[in-house]
């Protein structure tokens, strides 16, 4: 049959959300679509949404898993506020996502799953496909399951395996709709089912059937093209924040020429860093799954004492447990990287949802005066560079560093322009090997005048035997000291040495150079804030954006930057933690704008808030 001629439309951006039951393979489908899209050269940003339960009952609302991908012919900053297209594999997936769709959005539904039983499970008495409730959308009913089974009738695979391949049918259809190159998906299927040639064939066939269905059926009259984005030349890969963070730690080990020791206890959403690092033993990476969060950091600190790059990875509840050991590391003045992939709290909170509410804990959440360095990545790929920066500060300045990632950047993905290894910073630091006084003694707390770091004299070094501990120590000698003047001096010195860590100045983005409102963010809000600012500027408004990567110490120019604007707005996914710091530190009447829903800001939310501030002050 000759395919009816299809209209081809050019789009500049699309947001697609794949949604289905957790057993429907939506994460994989989204991942493959992302990979095809990357091959084509669009800019991309993705965000998965996992159900909180591991195996919620099939077909129920808590069992819905989704994956959103935003791609465009220009550089984009977020996974998109609202999907233009929803692929709903069952009634639950439709119901759970419908509220996010703007009028006019395309909905592709798997009609085979719209049975009375499945409808009842999620509280539909009448099928929404029949009662007119979806009239404002462009609904494309497709019998995904039976079409897949039909295509595989001759393949010889079981009905169950055939049904499972329906996600590939959906992927084939979407790949056709958006003119994606699919070779990487076919290669992927060959790898994934290497041991089952019948499944390779069946899944490829399902994919092809989906593609051909788009081409031949009259239900889809338009096909879309999105031109490649203009991106900096170089080699890219799509990467999640957790993956990038793990690779950044491996790179830090290579560039410091130190063995990496990770102590970790499983916790959502940080466990993937442990999983990833455990694959890279050939780089001298040791991963220890400890008995608890405290042991995890204890072992990492013990390894750091022995001359390794010590790292522990966790989420908020874990940082709470590690607090005492972080304080010990501050007293011992040893390098240590503590990664906190923040999630919604307090307590267990919402482990799969995002929040930035651990900033106070990172800055202040310890007993005594216990300052340390804090940094936060702004995007998934930036997690790589943030990990290197955390390691650099820890090693050079002999201090624990808290790296504040969050669920949004950890699980989101974007294209990453791969750095070349020799451009990465050189993180080598010398161990102490000999006495450091003129009379041939070794003083463990005699500091380097430039970095204020004490010598890193690792056990095994002859002649430098010494004892360190959590008790207050005398300046220079490190002997136990209860002397009031010494304690005063040591407390102030520990603060001063963190304050003196040189960190890059904060940049301000204000193309107009005439903005009177500054929006200041930190961490993962970079994308939505940036997208909101762009949109405002396109509409002729002026606004300046500055984003903090270093939260302790703060950049030296920050006070001056803040003073240059009539108004400073600080959006955060907490109740105003950075805003409180800025207000007290710089006496600036910063305006907090807060969201603690467990969801990232949408660009639209920030845009309307900022528009109001810009126009009405």
């Amino acid at each position: 049959m000759a395919a009816p001629a299809k209209r081809v439309e050019q789009l500049d951006r699309v947001v697609i959300r794949f949604a289905g039951d957790s057993g429907d393979g939506m994460q994989l489908t989204g991942d493959r679509f992302t990979s095809e899209t990357a091959q084509l050269g669009n800019d991309i940003s993705t965000l998965p949404n996992f159900p909180a339960e591991i195996r919620a009952p099939a077909g129920t609302l808590p069992g819905v898993s989704s994956f959103q991908v935003h791609f465009a012919d220009y550089d984009i900053l977020t996974p998109g506020d609202a999907p233009n297209v929803l692929v709903a594999m069952n009634p639950a997936a439709l119901k759970a996502n419908l509220a996010d769709l703007p009028a006019g959005a395309d909905i592709i539904v798997n009609t085979d799953e719209f049975t009375r039983r499945n409808l009842t499970k999620v509280g539909y008495t009448v099928s929404p496909l029949e009662d007119g409730s979806l009239d404002e959308f462009a609904v494309h009913p497709v019998a995904l399951t039976s079409l897949t089974l039909g295509a595989l009738a001759e393949s010889g695979v079981s009905k169950k395996d055939g049904e499972r391949a329906k996600n590939m049918f959906a992927l084939g259809l979407l790949s056709w709709m958006y003119s994606r190159p699919y070779e990487s998906t076919l290669r992927f299927l060959e790898r994934k089912f290497a041991k089952r040639p019948d499944l390779v064939a069946a899944n490829k066939e399902a994919f092809r059937a989906g593609w051909n269905y788009g081409e031949t059926t009259e239900a889809f009259s338009v096909r879309y093209e999105i031109k490649p984005a203009k991106m900096l030349p170089g080699t890219y890969r799509n990467i999640t924040g957790n993956q990038a963070l793990a690779l950044g730690l491996v790179a830090a080990a290579v560039r410091s020429k130190l063995p990496l020791f990770l102590g970790a206890y499983p916790i959502t959403p940080a466990s993937d860093i442990l999983h990833e690092l455990s694959k890279h033993k050939r780089f001298g990476v040791t991963t220890m799954q400890a008995e608890d969060e405290i042991a995890a950091i204890g072992a990492a600190l013990g390894a750091a004492y022995g001359g390794a790059l010590g790292v522990t990875t966790t989420s908020g509840p874990g940082v709470a447990l590690k607090g005492e050991t972080i304080s010990l590391a501050i007293a011992l003045e040893l390098p240590l990287v503590v990664v906190d992939v923040q999630r919604a709290g307090p307590s267990t909170g919402m482990p799969t949802k995002t929040e930035q509410a651990d900033l106070n804990m990172a800055l202040f959440g310890r007993h005594g005066e216990a300052p340390l360095a804090v940094i936060a990545p702004k995007s998934p790929s930036d997690c790589f560079h943030a990990a290197l920066e955390a390691a650099r500060i820890a090693l050079t300045y002999r201090t624990p560093v808290i790296l504040l990632s969050d669920n949004y950047v950890a699980n989101g993905s974007e294209p990453w322009l791969l750095p070349s290894v020799d451009e990465l910073p050189d993180l080598r630091v010398p161990f102490a090997t000999e006495a450091n006084t003129e009379d041939g003694r070794f003083l463990p707390y005699l500091r380097d005048p430039e970095t204020m770091a004490r010598p890193w004299a690792v056990p095994g070094t002859p002649g430098l035997e010494h004892r360190i501990g959590g008790l207050e120590k005398a300046d220079k000698t490190g002997d136990i000291s209860y002397d009031p003047a010494n304690h005063e001096f040591m407390v102030r010195t520990r603060q001063a040495r963190i304050d003196a860590i040189p960190v890059p100045d904060v940049d301000v983005e204000d193309p107009s150079e005439a903005a009177s409102v500054l929006v200041l963010g930190w961490g993962s809000t970079y994308g939505p804030i940036g997208a909101a600012c762009r949109s405002l500027r396109q509409r002729g408004l002026t606004i300046a954006q500055a984003h903090l990567r270093h939260l302790s110490p703060l950049p030296a120019n920050l006070g001056e930057v803040l003073a240059g604007y009539d108004k400073v707005v600080i959006p955060e996914m907490n109740l105003g933690q950075l805003a409180a710091v800025i207000r007290s530190r710089y006496l600036v009447d910063a305006v907090p704008f807060n969201q603690v829903s467990g969801l990232p800001f949408t660009a639209a939310t920030l845009e309307s808030m900022l528009e109001d501030v810009v126009k009405n002050g």
Binding site: G234, R237, A299, G302, A303, Y305, G306, A308
Partner: protein, 336 residues
Amino acid sequence: MAETVALQLTAKDFKSDQEVRWCPGCGDYSILAAMQRFMPELGIPREKIVFVSGIGCSSRFPYYMNTYGMHSIHGRAPAIATGLSTSRPDLNVWVVTGDGDALSIGGNHLIHALRRNVNLKILLFNNRIYGLTKGQYSPTSELGKITKSTPTGSADTPFNPLSLALGAEATFVARTIDSDAKHLQSVLRAAAEHRGSAFVEIYQNCNIFNDGAFDLIKDPSTREAHLIRLEQGQPITVGNLNVVHPEGSFGLKVQEGGTPIVHDATVDDPAYAFALSRLSGSDLNTTPIGVFRNVQRPSYDEIVRKQVLDAQAQATGAPEEMLGDLLNSGDTWTIL
């Protein structure tokens, strides 16, 4: 280890320049002295030796040893030492802890270090009291103990530290006494020779808050009737009584006559050492000292290191090259 032959270290070399600050008469002094006398025997240079401790009177120990040392935080020494020992096989790592430190706040780390069989020598100074916080009952204090925090008597059953260690899969378990320098050193020697976790309980007198806790097995007038000295290959007896294994019973019994069992710490089944550990309770009535269990099992640090070394041996190319390949792995695309 050629250099060790030339080492002419003495006890004095292991004394640090810090003034020892335990209460006069504290059992910790004799343990420190025994350790400093024993250390030269190891033939290991001082810089290769590390003492890691937690919090408590005993945990001041590292400050007084002229080796590397870390006085850490309450209960966490086994965890910190695990990281150190796993990443530095060349070091000889000792953990010094107490009954509160190891069995109360740090109980989790202790059992997991033993389960993993990390190459650590763990010395638990058991004085059955909290000394540094001035006299509260500890997890080894006898039931009904009257202390500052339990004026009407403690209500919780104490741990038997050796039973606990054996339940945690310890491969080396021993007990000794602060005042018996010779025995103490012989146990330290056996512990030092063990590859893996060695757990040593040292009965230690806190003469300020729990004086005389172990007098029954220290006092020459009562000692012989209550102290059981375990010697490899020797029959187990106490005074003129024998330790026997009554037919049909799970445990061991102290009785007149019968055939005393012959001690063998290398028995693989931990039930034997466990039965020995049950001979003594809070009352110390028949208390074995010596090495209860001494078996070989692969240690965590060895297994973990081997995995890393094997991966490194298979690796091709310099780390920088491999890193470049790693970054460039997966689905990449190039924009010109």
